[in-house]
């Protein structure tokens, strides 16, 4: 029993851990602690892999994914491809509290968030814009396309599918995801 309560999180995101732990110590619920902990990371833009201003997509936009799960009731609230809303984990919690659904995505998720009172803001920062422009200047390398024309390993899009499928070595594309670029 002395090992409880417990808060544990991936990566060395100290402020997120502190936010979760202090929420528990102040009498908050487990769900409150998860929301506060992950929300702190969104504010801090942890590692550039959480929150606004990171991981721009092929059009330079930052989109957010978040999920929260209650292990007592097995209720889940989640948002994916969320645009222009900074507090993704907060919106995920609202999915549980104010809908009978589990996962909302894209523009519709953003409209839901706005209806719940979350401010609509540009998620682009100078940093994410710089990452995007450097990528454009490197002929859009690396990217996640395959079997398209023009050759995605050399050129930017727009791409069209090719009739011929080339087998590529797994290691080549798997290593595009690494310590500074991950889910």
């Amino acid at each position: 029993a002395s090992q409880l309560p417990l808060a544990i999180n991936t990566w060395a995101f100290r402020r997120a851990a502190e936010a979760a732990w202090s929420t528990l110590q102040a009498g908050g619920s487990e769900m409150d602690a998860v929301e506060k902990g992950c929300g702190q990371c969104e504010i801090d833009q942890c590692d550039g892999s959480v929150g606004y201003g990171g991981s721009p997509d092929e059009h330079g936009e930052t989109t957010l994914d978040a999920m929260i799960m209650d292990g007592n009731t097995m209720q889940v609230g989640a948002v994916a491809d969320l645009r222009r809303i900074k507090n993704a984990i907060g919106v995920a919690r609202k999915v549980i509290e104010h809908t009978r659904h589990t996962l909302l995505v894209g523009e519709s998720a953003s409209m839901f968030a706005e209806s719940m009172g979350f401010p609509c803001e540009d998620l682009t920062t100078q940093s994410s814009l710089s990452i995007y422009l450097k990528w454009l200047n490197r002929s859009c390398q690396p990217n996640f396309w395959k079997n398209v024309t023009p050759d995605a390993s050399k050129s930017c899009g727009p791409y069209k599918q090719t009739a011929k499928f080339n087998k590529e070595e797994q290691t080549v594309w798997e290593r595009r995801i690494q310590i500074s670029n991950h889910d």
Partner: protein
Amino acid sequence: TIGMIVIGQTGSIAAGTSTNGANHKIQGRVGDSPIAGAGAYADSTAGGAAATGDGDIMMRFLPSYQAVEYMRTGMDPTVACQKVISRIQKYHPYFFGAVICANMSGSYGAACNKLPGFTQFHFMVSNPTLRQPSEQIVDCI
């Protein structure tokens, strides 16, 4: 990405994730983080788990769900985490990923897939014994 598991004094478990995904993703791409059982999973009758890494690969194996189910059988959290990493390794030896696991009694563990430049995984733990959030490190397998 952050993945988090919180277990209260009475054993109630919650889990969550938040991420901005992969750099230069194709528009519309969603990773494992918002998928229950993939990015994270919680069941107060067994335990909680959360995953981080290459969501395009990891989401196909539901690693968080699998880890919780391993812990339901009484498996130690560290071993449960290692087993889900090993399961993915068989198909994708070079995938980038890590998992954290915690059971109902507050025991916890983590595991990661060893790659050049990624040989250890850092995570944060807070419990009454540690008193304050402390960074812990696990060697990848």
